[in-house]
């Protein structure tokens, strides 16, 4: 076995070409890891608010709250059904109305959609992870008070505590508090009084969705069977986790596909870069390789040696790229969510699996890029050592 220090030092000696190839590989791994982290961030942000024993009920044919509508009568029937299913005789049910408004962005010209959720009293109690982190919650029944999610605070005009904005023309509301919800997509919403939002947007007598909290996750199936069997109701029941999955599916899949696509094209370039570097290494070391062969090192050990060299180069580049991508976890990105047409703040969410996958990508690039040069090295005749 040719000593590995021979390969490592040979790379170090040829600093410039090694650095160029290493940085090419680092860039690919950086892009790959970052996009994977973003895809993961989207899934987590959307799914984070999901509670296992909560069911979301929408109008049949809708897969988002924005396009759904449930009348108060239907909501009462849902409450009755929840009571029957629940062991205690009464399931906890909230009906909420969801609308989208346009607000001016801070820092850039233009406007963007913000989701406004009209919630009944006790909405904070229903969602155990949601809590007020600044200011206070709106007073029960106060039509002119709202609280904003931590994610969009400071991103739109009028969304700071004490500021006001218009929910609808001549319907000004004041921000009295900021809430957090474990980094979920709820943090990109404005929450106000249910009745106020209903009347401002002409939704009196209707809610967008109903959420039912049951004693255990197992009871959701019973609730689903009971509600969906009533065709006149025309409602569908799904677990909250499934609901959020559907909300994030399109965006997350798009980001992941984009990431893979970019990584594939970039990695082709980086592999060619690594190949050129390794070919140059082999070409300039013909006599050294010939000498090793003359001393008795086998073709296989030369092949392995140069493959390891390429692998080492790729792993160092990969580690730099993956390390740099970790810095992206401090970056927040605003994306338009395809299902709610409003902006949601996402973070790059690194996991050990993403880092491992990135390093595997680097390793694969190193081995594929280094294979032909290594094969060429293994074919160097020991007679090369004799050439003066």
């Amino acid at each position: 076995m040719v000593p590995v220090k021979y390969n490592i030092r040979s790379l170090v000696v040829r600093k410039t070409t090694t650095a160029a190839a290493g940085l090419g590989l680092a860039l690919v791994v950086f892009v790959f890891a970052s996009v994977m982290m973003l895809g993961n961030g989207i899934r987590k942000t959307m799914g984070r608010a999901a509670s296992p024993n909560v069911a979301v009920i929408l109008r049949k044919g809708s897969d988002a709250e924005l396009s759904s509508g449930i009348s108060n009568e239907s909501l009462n029937l849902v409450k009755a059904a929840a009571g029957q299913v629940s062991a205690s005789g009464k399931g906890e049910v909230v009906g909420e109305v969801v609308v989208v408004i346009l607000l001016d962005k801070i820092g850039t010209d233009g406007m963007s959609n913000v989701t406004v959720r009209g919630v009944p009293d006790g909405a904070l109690g229903f969602r155990s992870t949601a809590k007020v982190i600044a200011g206070r919650a709106p007073k029960p029944g106060a039509a002119d008070e709202v609280m904003v999610g931590n994610g969009i605070r400071g991103r739109f005009k009028g969304l700071e505590i004490g500021e006001s904005f218009e929910l609808k023309k001549n319907r000004s509301v004041k921000v009295v508090g900021v809430f957090s919800d474990d980094g979920s997509s709820n943090e990109s919403e404005v929450w106000g009084d249910l009745n106020a939002v209903q009347s401002a947007f002409g939704r009196d007598g209707y809610v967008s969705s109903a959420r039912v909290k049951l004693d255990s996750p197992g009871k959701i199936d019973a609730l689903k069977a009971q509600i969906e069997s009533d065709r006149q109701l025309g409602l569908i029941v799904m677990r909250e986790s499934v609901f959020f999955e559907k909300q994030s599916e399109m965006t997350a899949t798009f980001m992941t596909a984009l990431g893979v696509l970019i990584a594939v094209f970039f990695s082709l370039g980086a592999m060619i870069g690594a190949m050129i570097t390794m070919h140059a290494q082999v070409a300039s070391r013909q006599r050294e390789i010939g000498t090793l062969r003359a001393l008795g090192f086998s073709k296989l050990s030369i092949l392995t040696s140069f493959l390891l060299e390429s692998l080492f180069l790729a792993l160092v580049g990969g580690a730099i790229g993956a390390g740099a991508s970790l810095a992206m976890s401090f970056v927040k990105i605003t994306l338009l969510n395809a299902s709610s047409w409003s902006e949601i703040v996402f973070t790059f969410d690194p996991t050990p699996a993403i880092i491992v996958r990135s390093m595997i990508l680097a390793g694969v690039m190193g081995v594929i890029g280094g294979f032909l040069p290594a094969l060429r090295a293994a074919r160097v005749s020991p007679v090369e050592a004799m050439r003066a």
Partner: protein, 291 residues
């Protein structure tokens, strides 16, 4: 080269003794003081050695077991033809040659006469087109690339005109290289490499990189690398070709010492008549034939 280093009695005796041990089929475990000793002994399977001694058939691969009175290198009617384009070029033409163990032979001749090709064939770097090449008990013309590599590792020490040290390895790391092909443990490898460097008078240059050494010193490192595995034959291709007179004389003195004190069989290609004078026999090659 410092003569005092080369003549250092302890190093010389150790190496000489060790060599004797390693080559003695009856000897038990190697003592492990001198370069190459363990490698020889490691590979020496007692049965194979006995078989080798009884019959003429050598082991398929493995170190050479000297049999006094037998020639070490026997080239018989060897032809080597290269193909450059469509034209065949015969470099060695029915050459027959025998070299006894312990010889120090110089091979001279004009450029293109086939000296290096002959050296390559003897060293197992290449195979003859026809004829037989029997070296240290092995029929090289029948061996595969892998078998030849093993043969070289165990039997041949190379000394090149351009030294051919790996520039990114230190002197001692370069000398250690051939031992990586043996089962010698790493601590022992380093000890043997250091002993070999002491033998060539470079005990104070062990951690130096080739670029930090003079041409003469580089060549001595190369010689240390050639002897560290205790090979049977030293193959030298213009070993003084790139050196000034003084350094060349030092190298030739060292080769003479390796031949006389360490009983190495040396085959040296050279253009330099004064280098050839050091050899016990000088052969002249012309157009692929011996004069």
């Amino acid at each position: 080269m410092s003569d005092s280093d080369v003549k250092e009695p302890e190093a010389t005796t150790e190496d000489g003794d060790a060599k004797g041990d390693a080559r003695d089929n009856e000897s038990p475990a190697p003592k492990g003081d001198a370069p190459g000793e363990g490698a020889k002994a490691d590979a020496a399977k007692a049965d194979a050695a006995k078989d080798s001694a009884k019959s003429d058939a050598p082991p398929k691969s493995g170190p050479y077991r000297p049999t006094p009175g037998k020639p070490l290198i026997e080239m018989s009617n060897v032809t080597k033809t290269f193909h450059k384009g469509k034209e065949p070029l015969t470099v060695l033409d029915g050459l027959t040659l025998t070299i006894a163990e312990g010889a120090f032979e110089a091979l001279m001749g004009p450029s293109g006469s086939g000296k290096s090709t002959l050296l390559n064939l003897i060293a197992g770097l290449d195979r003859p087109t026809s004829g037989t090449a029997r070296v240290a008990g092995h029929n090289l013309e029948k061996m595969s690339d892998g078998e030849l590599a093993k043969f070289r590792a165990q039997n041949i020490g190379f000394i090149f005109q351009a030294y051919n040290l790996l520039p990114v390895l230190t002197a001692v790391e370069n000398v250690e290289l051939p031992l990586l092909l043996t089962k010698v443990p790493s601590g022992e490898r380093r000890k043997r490499a250091e002993t070999a460097l002491r033998v060539v008078g470079l005990s104070d240059r062990m951690g130096h990189y080739p670029r930090q050494l003079s041409g003469g010193q580089e060549q001595r490192v190369a010689i240390a690398r050639a002897i560290v595995n205790d090979p049977t034959i030293l193959v030298c291709d213009e070993p003084t070709g790139d050196l000034d007179r003084k350094s060349a004389d030092d190298i030739l003195a060292l080769l003479t010492k390796l031949n006389q004190d360490f009983k190495k069989t040396i085959l040296m290609v050279t253009h330099d008549p004064s280098a050839a004078e050091r050899a016990t026999t000088t052969r002249h090659l012309n157009k692929g034939r011996l004069d």
